[in-house]
Symmetry: C2
Subunit: 332 residues, 2 copies
């Protein structure tokens, strides 16, 4: 049977408010550079008042991945919770405008649509301050069983462990997917997120609740609590069916029990804003996987999509990724 | 006496919603490529529903200029009308975050903050569809006499001729500025805008209500209704005290009765979105003028600021323009 969607993702539905900031600003406001920190509404107001002029774009890690994969030609769907407010309508417009299927009912009461205040330092690093807002209302009722069954791959973000009910939605989706013979992928999201939920993430991987793991180097080190890269890689190879370890300018390592592929980073002219690099790697990789491309091809597509995203502000593609793939011999 | 501000601008306070679109989209929706078209709320909804994922950033021609000039170290102020809604608060945050003085009282009733739906085609051209909303509430009462008197240069956008009351604010500001011995600058804004208000614009220039004129080639041709560039240039030289004619990749021509300077375009790697090119040229030029830099230096600064803006989506700088100026020997 053909799948209704190649990739169904569940994640936090967030709008990004992005501003340039210097390291001094991060120090003054005591935000941890390079990390994603959860903040409450009062702190959100304070950071917004202090930050520079804002570029606003829809974000959310798994949502960025879905949009990127759609730009590469994948049929995608997203489950996530917005409020029925201006930001929520903007998020909904943007993800649907890329052709992604998004029908999760918005919250009609409670906190507003989630906002992530992204501070981009001159070195291109991004530091994220997330007010989860309406994302906290995501629950098992939002997981549409037929949509999960109808997707070739289910993709889940580690950040879903932060809102209280979302992890139940995550587990429900994984169970439905496996019962239907689908594969489930997880991104570890952030090293601090791994610190918060290490045991649960390891259990998810070891129990094969997830089949495919995305991690960057610091997340991998955090997961296995080792500073030695080889040790961590070997442990991941033991635990995961398939893993992609992204290493910034060092490229990416694809691991299975049987094979490993080291794929170089895609060349970039100038790094402007690394927001979404991991999300877009996953987009390219999963778009390839859904079309049964060889692992090395999938990884190259991911590296290309990540390279596009870090050369401008924001985590949604500004270039025709499918055309870029074709130009680089990576068409699916 | 020292001026409170180097540049005070009056313009439409607009938030840009920017999306990539192909030429086919423009044809289907019958929008005139490269132009700024005024639309009503119903059409705004229709275009938004059809357009791709959106990057949102504060815009408005003169407001972009003020922000760009502030980024180059000029002390700036802005007069323009938003509504007391989410977009209006965003516009206010952004312009103040650049250090521009902005205290125009927001409208508390009537239409919402103005929106410009910017469609960027793969060739980097932008096509604008503007819903003026709250801008239509700008009037003479909003022109703060002491602020105008205290500014070295007053900058006005031709688009102010569109909302019914704003031209009165424009004339009031010009009168106050001249009575205080200040210079007044005008951008012709858009060739269709020139078509709408040709006689009035010519009268403003010939009566010396404005001292400095910014025009691109098509605006210049529209103003003098001639296809011959030399003819148009000679007419402008007769009429204006000082004029800057921007010519995209052909650079810029600076004209006075006595001198003319042809300044080449600043090199760019890749044109992504030309939105704001003219606005940022004016920013650099006026920032230089306010510091009494030579005309050629002012023009080079303008060309540099324009080159920065066309290499990314949106009309607000993403690079530290003052540092860029210093690196290129153009520090003020």
């Amino acid at each position: 049977m053909t799948h209704r969607h190649d990739i169904l993702a569940i994640g936090n539905a967030i709008v990004d408010l992005i501003a340039v900031a210097d390291d001094d600003f991060l120090l003054r406001h005591k935000v941890h550079k390079g990390a994603m920190t959860l903040i409450d509404e009062a702190r959100a107001e304070k950071i917004y008042a202090a930050m520079g002029p804002v570029t606003m774009a829809s974000g959310g890690s798994a949502a960025n991945t879905v949009v990127g994969a759609a730009a590469l030609g994948a049929k995608t769907a997203f489950i996530g919770k917005v409020r029925d407010d201006e930001l929520g309508r903007g998020f909904t417009h943007d993800i649907r405008a890329m052709g992604a299927h998004f029908t999760t009912a918005p919250a009609v009461e409670g906190p507003g649509t989630a906002r992530c205040f992204v501070l981009v330092t001159p070195d291109g690093q991004r530091t994220m301050n997330t007010y989860l807002g309406a994302c906290q209302a995501l629950g098992v009722a939002d997981v549409d069983e037929s949509a999960v069954k109808g997707a070739s791959l289910v993709y889940l973000e580690g950040y879903l462990w932060d809102p209280p009910e979302a992890k139940k939605a995550f587990r429900k989706a994984a169970d439905i997917a496996h019962a239907a013979g689908r594969r489930v992928a997880l991104t570890l999201s952030d090293s601090f997120c791994v610190d918060r939920y290490r045991d649960e993430f390891l259990q998810l991987i070891r129990s094969k609740t997830v089949d495919i793991v995305f991690a960057n180097e610091s997340e991998l080190h955090a997961l296995y609590q080792t500073a030695d890269f080889e040790t961590a890689v070997n442990l991941m190879r033991e635990d995961a069916t398939l893993a992609a370890v992204t290493r910034s300018e060092k490229g990416v390592l694809i691991l299975t029990r049987e094979e490993s592929h080291a794929i170089p980073a895609f060349p970039v002219d100038r790094i402007v804003d690394t927001t979404g690099a991991g999300d877009l790697f996953a987009a390219g990789f999963l778009a390839g996987l859904a079309k049964d491309a060889p692992l090395a091809h999938c990884a190259r597509l991911g590296a290309m999509a990540a390279a596009e995203i870090i050369q401008h502000i924001g985590a949604r593609p500004e270039t025709n990724l499918a055309a870029m793939a074709a130009e680089n011999g990576l068409a699916l």
